[in-house]
């Protein structure tokens, strides 16, 4: 019963990996994959000597790190706030509302940010002008220095509610007796959070952090692609955009494939080291 599906799997998921040999050729689509001119590591040599490559690498690492740090901090903050709320109705309402952005596509979210950041009537410019912080509207999406901010904060807006789920479930697993004992000792609310709640989610925090480090070369793609424009491209281009530009637009297939392989191979190394590290620490925290 599984045989047709195994064939399907090999065709759609394993044959493209065989296609990696393209990166060692000067691929021309008219000929078959094994009737190409072989060039060895030439494509990789060009890749590593291209200044644009290092810019892409910088952008990818920077945006992935920003998203990781901001996303983690705000997910934990939301989880703490919900955890400190007793009323069932309030908890449910806040959670349901905070999940909403997670379920809509980045296309919808990008549209929302185009609106919020618009220089014509965007709410951000309106508020900042009402408080006299800025004198005239700013074209937020057109300033290169702001792009990483926009990526980081739009990620927080979209994912912090959903990201809180896992921390919240770790918090509900904390023994209520510890809180009761703290109350008897006269602990204040902030002290309860500082000395009970946060240490209680430490294991979850470490595991998630390590797992996410495995995805540092994966800064997302849709977000950058949908929010970028010509003015900010030095700060917005990430690997997938680079590969699309060289591969599908400029038709330098082998070169783009080489860039793709670099990203895949480094990612696999990162993910496996992260998994091993997490497994080791996981055992220790269990003991």
């Amino acid at each position: 019963m599984a045989l047709p599906f195994v064939i399907h799997l090999i065709i759609f998921r394993y044959i493209p990996i065989v296609g990696w040999v393209m990166a060692f050729q000067d691929y021309k689509p008219a000929r078959g994959l094994f009737a190409q001119k072989w060039v060895g590591f030439e494509q990789f040599r060009i890749l590593f000597s291209d200044l644009a490559f290092y810019r892409i690498l910088r952008n990818t690492l920077a945006m992935a790190a920003i998203k990781l740090v901001l996303g983690t901090v705000f997910s934990i903050l939301v989880a703490v706030l919900v955890n400190e709320t007793r009323s069932k109705f309030a908890r449910r309402s806040v959670q349901t509302i905070s999940y909403l952005p997670h379920f809509v596509s980045w296309v919808v979210a990008a549209n929302i940010f185009l609106n919020v950041l618009s220089p014509d009537s965007g709410i951000l410019n309106n508020i900042l002008m009402a408080f006299g912080i800025i004198k005239e509207p700013v074209l937020w999406l057109g300033v290169p220095e702001y792009f990483w901010h926009i990526i980081g904060w739009s990620h927080v807006w979209k994912e912090c509610g959903f990201g809180a789920i896992i921390y919240l479930s770790a918090m509900t697993a904390i023994d209520p007796q510890i809180y009761e004992a703290a109350d008897i000792d006269g602990a204040r609310r902030l002290q309860r959070i500082r000395y009970i709640t946060l240490p209680g989610i430490k294991a979850t925090f470490i595991i998630l952090l390590i797992m996410n480090i495995g995805h540092l070369l994966d800064a997302g793609f849709e977000q950058q692609y949908l929010l970028q424009n010509g003015l900010v491209q030095d700060y917005s281009e990430v690997f997938t955009i680079y590969i699309m530009k060289y591969g599908l637009k400029m038709m330098r297939y082998s070169y783009a494939a080489a860039a793709g392989i670099f990203k895949s191979v480094v990612s696999i190394i990162l993910i496996f080291s992260a998994n091993r590290l997490a497994a080791r620490l996981g055992e220790e925290t269990l003991v």
């Binding site: 019963m1 599984a2 599906f5 195994v6 399907h8 090999i10 759609f12 394993y14 493209p16 990996i17 296609g19 990696w20 689509p29 939301v78 706030l81 400190e84 709320t85 309030a90 806040v94 349901t96 509302i97 909403l100 952005p101 379920f103 809509v104 596509s105 980045w106 296309v107 919808v108 990008a110 549209n111 929302i112 940010f113 185009l114 609106n115 919020v116 618009s118 014509d120 009537s121 709410i123 309106n126 999406l141 807006w157 509610g161 204040r188 609310r189 949908l226 929010l227 424009n229 003015l231 590969i243 591969g247 599908l248 297939y253 783009a256 494939a257 793709g260 392989i261 895949s264 696999i268």
Partner: protein, 299 residues
């Protein structure tokens, strides 16, 4: 327990932050909704918040009178429905197979799927594969390549492993074939997890635009709602950088006299595209959370 000043300060700060969270999350959606129902020429003046100032259905009329958008809506629904049915059925079938203890290759096949969660061929080799399989400029790209996804497979397999063996054994004693057991015994028992996976797939399919963009962008008859909205975002971005301001003007110019603007049309499209998700997600969230929990115990 009586409240101390400390408690009062804490609770006030907490409520303040939660209310802030809710406003920041909801305001942008309500703002887009208001703009979509506001007269486009009036919106240019700015200052529309969460309620239309000059109510108008013009933006929606304009969208729904565009045959391309109507067609894209049909494709969006079709790709979602077809992918949900085929993926749920096929994934369940493979999951049942790899859950059978007597099947010697089950570990090997599971591993083949799990590897694909970490390694993929990358954009360029995949593109050439799809091209040689004639899946470029084809509706089938929407459902064929992703027929069985490793993550969903593990979710269903974990569920089947938790079922009692006695159901299957008694069916075998009555002489039922493997396929009959799958259809008549396993599928009904798995209904909760199949619903979960169906929801995963449906949300994913409805929201996805990258395949349309890469493989089907030259054929308007295969476009989806997400992709049509994405194209509108691209012309808005081009207008930001001014690199092709002319095309943005052309877009606006072609609409002169029709009393709509690109911004207002985008707002109405955004509402249409996100409405199905917003309507169903409150009912899905508990499934997503369970799915997340099951996915955690993978391998």
């Amino acid at each position: 327990m009586k409240k101390t000043t400390d408690d009062i300060i804490f609770d006030t700060a907490k409520v303040f932050m939660l209310v802030f969270l809710i406003i920041v999350t909801l305001y942008p959606f309500l703002n887009i909704l208001a703009i979509s129902f506001n007269d486009a020429m009036d919106s240019i003046r700015g200052g529309v918040n969460i309620w239309p100032r000059k109510f108008s259905l013009m933006n929606y009329e304009k969208i729904f009178s565009n045959p391309n958008i109507g067609h894209a809506a049909i494709i969006s629904v079709l790709r979602t429905v077809i992918a949900v049915i085929t993926q749920v059925f096929c994934t369940a079938m493979v999951a049942y197979t790899i859950s059978r203890k007597e099947f010697v290759l089950r570990k090997f096949i599971t591993l083949l799927y799990v590897i694909t969660m970490y390694i993929d061929g990358g954009l360029i080799p995949t593109y050439f594969l799809m091209r040689s399989l004639h899946l470029v400029n084809s509706f089938h790209i929407y459902w064929v390549p992703g027929l069985v996804a490793a993550f969903n497979l593990l979710v269903i397999r974990t569920y089947i492993n938790g079922l009692s063996e006695s159901f299957i054994e008694s069916a075998k004693l009555e002489g039922a074939s493997d396929f009959t057991i799958f259809l008549k015994v396993i599928m009904p028992l798995c209904l909760p997890v199949l619903a979960t996976v169906a929801l995963f797939v449906a949300v994913w399919q409805w929201n996805f635009w990258f395949d349309t963009f890469i493989y089907n962008s030259s054929n308007i008859k295969l476009s989806t709602l997400q992709y049509e909205l994405m194209k509108k975002i691209q012309s808005a971005n081009a207008a930001v950088s001014g690199s092709s301001a002319s095309s943005a003007f052309a877009e606006a110019g072609g609409m002169s006299g029709s009393r709509v603007t690109p911004t207002s049309l985008r707002a109405a499209m955004t509402v249409v595209v996100s409405l199905p998700i917003i309507a169903v997600y409150p009912f899905l969230q508990k499934y997503f959370v369970t799915g997340l929990a099951i996915g955690g115990v993978k391998g």
